[in-house]
Symmetry: C2
Subunit: 137 residues, 2 copies
Amino acid sequence: MKLSKTSEYALRILGFMINSEKQVFTARYLVTYLHIPDKYLRRLMTDLARNGFIKSIQGREGGYVFAKNATTIHLSEIIDAVEGMDKYTGCLLGLNNCSDDSPCSLHYAYAPIRNQVLNLLDTLTLADLKSLKIKRF
Amino acid sequence: MKLSKTSEYALRILGFMINSEKQVFTARYLVTYLHIPDKYLRRLMTDLARNGFIKSIQGREGGYVFAKNATTIHLSEIIDAVEGMDKYTGCLLGLNNCSDDSPCSLHYAYAPIRNQVLNLLDTLTLADLKSLKIKRF
DNA sequence: ATTAAATACTATCTTAAAGTAGTATTTTGC
DNA sequence: GCAAAATACTACTTTAAGATAGTATTTAAT
Ligand code: SF4
Ligand code: SF4
C-alpha cells in the first residue's frame, strides 16, 4: 500500500527524467524540481548509479544520464535495488510462506489484488511512465 | 503494499479472536498464539479498547471481549485507529491532492488497483474474516 | 594553472516506530 | 483478609529510516 520514502524518491526521480527532453540532469536541477532533500538525493543518485540504472558524469558540466534503455528497467528492479523487494512478497499481515492452502484471514480477499500490484511492478518499465499527460513528479 | 507492524498486529489479533470459539481472551493467551511481543500487545489492546472495538475486563478472570458486533467493524476503521488511514490516501508516490486530471506517472496504471484496495478495506468487516479455512494468524 | 561547478565519500544527527521494564491497580477465589 | 491473576499506566531503550554536514575529488572553461 505504500513504499518507503527512498523508493518513492527513486521512482519519482527516474520518472521525472524519462519524461524530460533533457539528457543530462544535475543533482541541483533535480532537487529544485522534485523537492527532495539535497544530500539525500545525491546519495540516492550514486546508489542508483551503482545499480546500473544511471551513469554519473563527474566534474563541471557533469550530472546523470540513463545508463541503459528505459524499456529494460522494470519498476520492481528499482524498488529491489533501493529497499529490497522481499518485504513485499510477504504481504498485508506480514506473514510469509503463504499459499492458497494455508491462508491468513485476508488472503482470499486480498491476495488477488496483491498479485496485481506485484505483477504491475514486475511488468511496468520506466519507458511506460512516459506520457504527455503527467503533471506531477 | 504494506501496513505498519502495529496495524498488522491489530488485524491479526482481532482476526484471531473472531475466528475463535472463545469469548474472553487474556493477553497471555493471545501472546502465546500470535507471537506478538507481550508488552506491545498489551498496550495495543488497551488502545483497541479505548477505540471501542473491544472491552477489557479487569481483575482475575479478566481479559478482552468484543465490544460490538464484528459486522460493524470495518478494517479501515481498525487501521485508522492504530496508525491513521490518511497516509494511505496519498498513495504510491507519496503525493496528495491527486486526481485523474493531475496524475503522477504511475496514476493510470496504479490508481485503479489502489482504489480496489482502499475499497476493500472500507467494505470488509471483521465478520468477513471468519472462515474455517484460515490456518494462520 | 586556476577557478568554478559538478559528483563522491564519510560521519553524524534526528525522528518515529517498535519493543522493553517496572510499578500500580482491579477483581475473584479461597 | 489476602494471595493470585489479570489489566493499566508511565517511562525508558532500541532500531532503522531519513536527513544533514563537511570534506574530498573530478572535470571543463577560461
Ligand atoms: S493475504 Fe495471503 S499472501 Fe498475504 S499475508 Fe495473508 S496468507 Fe499471506
Ligand atoms: S498513482 Fe494517482 S493517486 Fe497515486 S500518487 Fe500517483 S497521481 Fe496520486
